[in-house]
């Protein structure tokens, strides 16, 4: 499971950093390294781009896992060079950006867009969003394929009329989630599960913002 990120258009980053002279860069050694959006190579390339714009890069680091609490210590260890910067350009997912912002006492600018939490294929080259963390799991009715996530419209009572040769109306390359669910339920001889009428989702179960406590 990895948090999937995509590099922002450089023009957008440029706009956000236009008033800054001195910039500190932080990358992440876990998900963003895997996505090739915030590993050492990308951080060094970004450093060069910023220097080409006439900015001074006061320092940079690739923390092991940006979202982890240990990032606090990494930020504290770099306090001097971070202090010398006007802002921190963070090349991590939104979790990492917020972890840095909590401890750095500086304005943060994200260099990436956070897309989804992805499940990897066997060779870790492709990631798919398979769970939308909706707070009301229906996988027991759908043979383990999530329609909330995999159906473009998040339908839970079967396909829309947009199914086209087993593909989705928004993308001819994308499988229709309900065709997949139907086929798997049929294989398992449990099509009866699809015949049950499902009630509207309870959006109260999607806590926003989510919060959980595991104190004893």
């Amino acid at each position: 499971m990895k948090t999937i990120t995509k590099e922002k258009e450089f023009a957008e980053i440029e706009k956000r950093i236009k008033d800054a002279r001195n910039i500190y860069i932080i990358g992440c050694g876990t998900c963003a390294t895997l996505c090739k959006t915030g590993g050492k190579g990308e951080v060094l390339k970004m450093k060069e781009k910023l220097q080409n714009l006439g900015k001074k890069v006061t320092g940079w680091m690739v923390v092991p896992t940006a979202c982890d609490i240990l990032t606090k210590e990494a930020v504290e260890a770099e306090a001097e060079t971070i202090k010398a910067a006007d802002l921190i350009l963070v090349m991590t997912c939104g979790f990492g950006v917020q972890r840095v912002a909590d401890h750095a006492g500086k304005l943060v600018v994200p260099a990436l867009d956070t897309l989804f939490i992805g499940k990897e294929d066997e060779v870790q080259t492709e990631f798919s969003q398979v769970c939308a963390q909706c707070g009301e799991c229906v996988l027991g009715l759908t043979a383990g394929i999530c329609p909330i996530t995999s159906c473009h419209k998040g339908l839970i009572n079967g396909p829309c009329g947009g199914t086209n040769r087993g593909k989705c109306e928004v993308d001819k390359e994308k499988d229709c989630a309900w065709t997949l669910i139907y086929n798997r339920l049929k294989e398992l001889n449990r099509l009866d599960l699809m015949e049950e009428c499902q009630s509207p989702k309870n959006y109260q179960k999607v806590l926003k913002p989510g919060k959980a406590s595991f104190k004893q």
């Binding site: 998040g154 087993g166 109306e169 009428c197 499902q198």
Partner: protein, 296 residues
């Protein structure tokens, strides 16, 4: 006074409805002309709701205009643009203005339309939507609260007889019938042998509804090919494409009218289903000609 659509459904007559597609404009002149032209020729005028995810004058507003002009409106409502609260309150408004028929659809994806960056809603799906209406009729909104006043709709839904694969579509179709759909409008059909096979299956279901075959007027071979490539569940047979191609440019519309009329006649004479829904898509002025040629 127009006969309520619910009464038409209860009768044995061959049902005919036509589609009205509102414009992206406040100039309603042409649409109003179409309404006046068709309101007394068909059993109901079915108004699209931001069809193909393209923003237009609303279905609800158009239904009120139809009502004011003495027609029988069928309000299309998709789940794409409104959450359950907005759908419920629009239904209350529709009822208060004399609208008694609603056709429930999932709605096309936002991505296929002209507001690609908009947020899609899909709070409910079409099955839940039908059940919600039935619950409101029993005096409860979807929040479980008491609803005062009269409230009753003749509810329709959609099916795509040529969906590929068909089996999951049939399961959903059965759920719509079980939820209380009283009439079903189909996606455009052209191959009547295939349609007959679909109807044989549908007639075997536990819950029944009146089924209106969707007839989309073809105006050129290019349009037919475009639909085959881009509209899920629509397949225009090559024979029709060749017929349209062989017609002179000025006669293509005439040929399209002839094809539509032939389909309607065969459906009616062969009692393939209970009626037709004619979608002329911008050529509403020729619908009377289709009706004439169909012997209606």
């Amino acid at each position: 006074m127009k006969t309520p659509f619910k009464e038409i459904l209860a009768s044995d007559r061959f049902i005919v409805t036509a589609e009205i597609g509102p414009p992206k404009s406040t100039d309603l002149h042409e649409m109003t002309e179409h309404i006046d032209l068709l309101k007394d020729r068909v059993d109901g005028l079915n108004v699209t709701d931001n069809q193909s995810s393209v923003m237009r004058y609303p279905s609800l507003g158009t239904c009120i205009i139809i009502k004011e002009r003495g027609g029988e409106p069928i309000l299309q409502m998709t789940c794409r643009d409104r959450n359950r609260m907005a759908l419920e309150s629009d239904l209350l408004f529709a009822y208060s203005r004399g609208i008694r028929n609603v056709l429930v659809l999932t709605g096309d994806a936002v991505a296929v339309g002209d507001h690609k960056e908009a947020k899609a809603v899909f709070d409910l799906d079409s099955v839940q939507f039908i059940k919600m209406i039935r619950s409101m009729e029993a005096g409860r909104d979807l929040g479980g609260n008491e609803l005062k006043g009269e409230f009753s709709f003749c509810v329709g839904a959609i099916v795509t007889p040529e969906a590929d694969p068909i089996e999951p579509q049939l399961l959903k179709f059965k759920k719509k019938l079980a939820a209380g759909a009283e009439f079903i409008q189909t996606q455009a059909i052209y191959d009547l042998d295939k349609f007959k096979r679909f109807m044989d299956i549908a007639r075997g279901f536990k819950y029944q509804a009146k089924i209106l075959a969707g007839i989309v007027l073809l105006t050129s071979a290019g349009m037919a090919k475009y639909m085959n490539e881009n509209v899920p569940g629509v397949m225009v047979p090559q024979g029709f494409i060749d017929e349209l191609k062989s017609a002179q440019k000025d006669d293509r519309l005439k040929k399209g009218i002839e094809i539509a009329s032939r389909l309607i006649r065969t459906i009616r004479e062969g009692k393939l289903c209970d009626g037709v829904h004619i979608m002329a898509i911008g050529k509403e002025d020729v619908v009377p000609k289709i009706l004439e040629e169909s012997g209606l």
